[in-house]
Symmetry: C2
Subunit: 222 residues, 2 copies
């Protein structure tokens, strides 16, 4: 039997929204290199979250995202103009959402339905507000409020303060294995949305369940 | 003019020793996949250091290294036997050193010449002791003593305690851009040994100098 869940908390990037929907915009500027730049951009963005958290040098999501883009473009021996930088950062505010999100959030109505992300408000709010499921959400929480990136315990702790729930009352969904590991370590129930068939992380923290998309979490409804 | 340096401190993996000298051993077990597994193994090992540091779940280097190997092998849809695991971990204690290391350490004799690594003593000590330059070193320091991985400030701080020097008296060498960023953020002088022509990290922390191999640091001699 599934435990009683008071808050369904969703990671944003990769979980509700497809970060690689910037591939086409990258390809317009750097023909033939769009997919490589998009992959490297995301990889470096994550690495910089982790490194900045370890070094104690928090910077907001938009800065980290620009830094990561600059690295990804340099890596391809290309030059990035200021206009291209602004256009690609803007594309990051208009990512496509995954097709099942609206249906799943509709089926969960009446519960706390929350987005919780490393995104800072300037990037996260336009993205969420322009989505087709904005009206179905009850809260959007950014780690920027405490300036501690996921997967630090201090970041997940913000969810408890903001929602006034206990950790065992939270079901946390993410497509990012590292985010599921961090949430599990903190004490949330966890559902790993393994969209691309990745191996499970080897961090000694098994997710409570694994689904190929968000529809799987409907079995947590009482 | 270069500042006065009391301690020349070297990262181990990637800087003195070639982590990809395990490629052949990987290829013996997984024909045609040795290079991919070796690359992924190292990448995942670093990611697990950073994630464990962020989550507050330190584990010694040998465990993290085995975990990363298991992930890398799973990613290639291969099975790893216990014997293969032991053999590959053993190969990690016998990595090749880079060809210029002995010559550079010889030229620096009379100074504190120190290895400082995320490696735990069970992995790091056999590696260093079996190298051709062991007798030229004055100290080997493992983060395991404080159980804080680089690039955390707490890890670099251990160097000051162990060597009884001030941070501005240290020249720190690493081939790992993230390690140079962390050391620079902490306050060491830094020389990035950029062996493979990588772009500079976009973390707002420029290394004091960049060389293609360790010979470049000889210009810091007074």
């Amino acid at each position: 039997m599934k435990p009683s869940i008071k808050a369904f908390v969703f990671d944003a990037y990769g979980t509700l929204f497809d970060v690689h929907s910037v591939t086409e915009a990258c390809n317009d500027f750097f023909p033939g290199k769009g997919a490589d730049i998009s992959q490297s951009w995301r990889k470096k963005q994550l690495e910089y979250f982790f490194l900045r958290q370890v070094m104690g040098r928090y910077a907001p999501f938009d800065q980290v995202t620009i830094d990561a883009l600059r690295y990804a473009v340099k890596e391809q021996q290309e030059d990035l103009s200021h206009e291209q930088e602004i256009a690609l950062l803007d594309a990051y505010k208009k990512l496509d959402s995954y097709e099942e999100v609206k249906e799943v959030l509709s089926a969960l109505q009446g519960r706390k339905l929350v987005v919780f992300s490393n995104g800072s408000p300037t990037m996260l709010e336009p993205l969420v507000k322009h989505s087709e499921f904005f009206s179905l959400l009850t809260d959007t929480i950014s780690v920027d409020k405490v300036k501690q990136f996921k997967p630090s315990p201090a970041s997940y702790s913000l969810v408890l303060e903001e929602l006034n729930v206990r950790r065992e009352e939270v079901l946390f969904m993410s497509s990012n294995g590292w985010d599921i590991s961090g949430a599990k370590s903190f004490g949330f129930h966890t559902a790993w949305i393994n969209r691309t068939g990745l191996p499970e992380e080897e961090l000694g923290l098994t997710p409570d369940c694994v689904y190929t998309n968000l529809k799987g979490i409907l079995e947590w409804l009482e």
